[in-house]
């Protein structure tokens, strides 16, 4: 499946460094390192983009250049976020990423900081909390719902939700409290990839379908886009 979707930063004045390729986003580990391959990406120097990186054509898409549109971001959070230019006539798009055979780093997205990542994890945990509160109210567990809702920090949320999850292994509301406690734990230790996944899993479990998971991931993508001021109002961007 090919896609002709473009993403551009809402900031102007950076266009000179871009070529004609599609601009997408890519999470990397600290030092512009591929999180799974250990590959060190050539970094941009000043206003010059990094060197092109190519994958062997015969290995496409298994060993292609992987990147994200906005809606893919919550699946791959890592230390650094980069704008990447993809030069390819055929770009494969799937549910969680896009793949091209050639790409280069253009510029680091400076707004993605450890602090923002932590805030993202916390937002996911609080969203899971809000979902649990609604379900507890419907299930006539009003006192516990109020306790959860009154939590003013992630550490407090974890402390309150954890004992609720231990009440009964077969009770669905206790199970839901377990998701909230886990999301809070991972948010507290800044493992935002896991915190966001747990929040999406809770959405899947409580909605009874994969659609719940995907909708939660979409919300997470919008959260990141909003905070990074990505141009998701642009007609080129799909969130």
């Amino acid at each position: 499946m090919s896609a002709m979707i473009c993403w551009r930063s809402s900031e102007s004045g950076k266009q000179a460094r871009y070529g004609e390729g599609m601009i997408a986003l890519k999470f990397l580990a600290r030092g512009a390192v591929g999180p799974f391959t250990g590959f060190v990406w050539p970094s941009p120097a000043g206003s010059t983009a990094g060197a092109w990186v190519e994958s062997p054509p015969e290995r496409f898409p298994e060993r292609g250049i992987h990147a994200c549109l906005v809606e893919h971001l919550p699946y791959w959070t890592d230390d650094e976020l980069w704008e990447v230019e993809l030069s390819d006539e055929k770009i494969l798009r799937s549910a969680m990423q896009i793949v091209a055979s050639r790409g280069r780093l253009v510029e680091r997205v400076a707004a993605w900081t450890p602090r923002l990542a932590q805030e993202f994890g916390q937002a996911c945990a609080l969203k899971a909390r809000d979902r649990a509160v609604e379900l507890m109210k419907q299930g006539t567990r009003l006192a516990e719902a109020e306790q959860l809702f009154a939590c003013r920090s992630i550490a407090e949320l974890e402390k309150v939700a954890r004992p609720m999850s231990a009440q009964s292994k077969t009770d669905s509301l206790s199970n839901i409290a377990g998701y909230v406690a886990d999301a809070a734990t991972f948010a507290r230790i800044s493992d935002v990839a896991t915190a966001s996944y747990i929040a999406a899993e809770l959405a899947r479990v409580t909605s009874g379908s994969m659609q719940g998971f995907l909708l939660e991931r979409s919300w997470q993508g919008r959260w990141i886009a909003d905070r990074l001021r990505l141009a998701h109002g642009s007609p080129h961007v799909s969130v």
Binding site: P35, F36, G38, R59, P61, E62, R63, Y75, W76, T77, D78, L92, S94, A95, M96, Q97, V99, D191, A193, T194, Y197, M210, Q211, F213, L214, R217
Partner: protein
């Protein structure tokens, strides 16, 4: 669209798939599932890193790097294993 997201893999499955992953033999969908597991599993990420390191070190070895007695012991073990007497 939901296919990729709905099929998580376990740590054990990841270990079974790691050779195919490193050889680029996984399909795009399986590779995505594999890497989605890595995003959230520090243990498996470390395991993959160690596997890559082991392969890189092994590639640097030649026959001469192995002492003769060690090579003979290894060959004897392989022969036993092939004959089915070593389990």
């Amino acid at each position: 669209m939901s296919n990729e997201a709905s099929m998580d893999i376990t740590c054990q499955e990841l270990v079974e798939l790691v050779t195919d992953y490193l050889e680029g033999a996984l399909s795009h969908e399986d590779r995505t599932r594999f890497e989605q597991h890595l995003v959230m599993c520090g243990g498996c990420k470390e395991y993959l890193r160690e596997m890559r390191k082991t392969i890189a070190i092994s590639r640097k070895l030649s026959d001469e790097d192995l002492p003769a007695n060690v090579r003979d012991d290894l060959l004897a073990l392989f022969r036993k294993w092939k004959a089915g007497s070593l389990r």
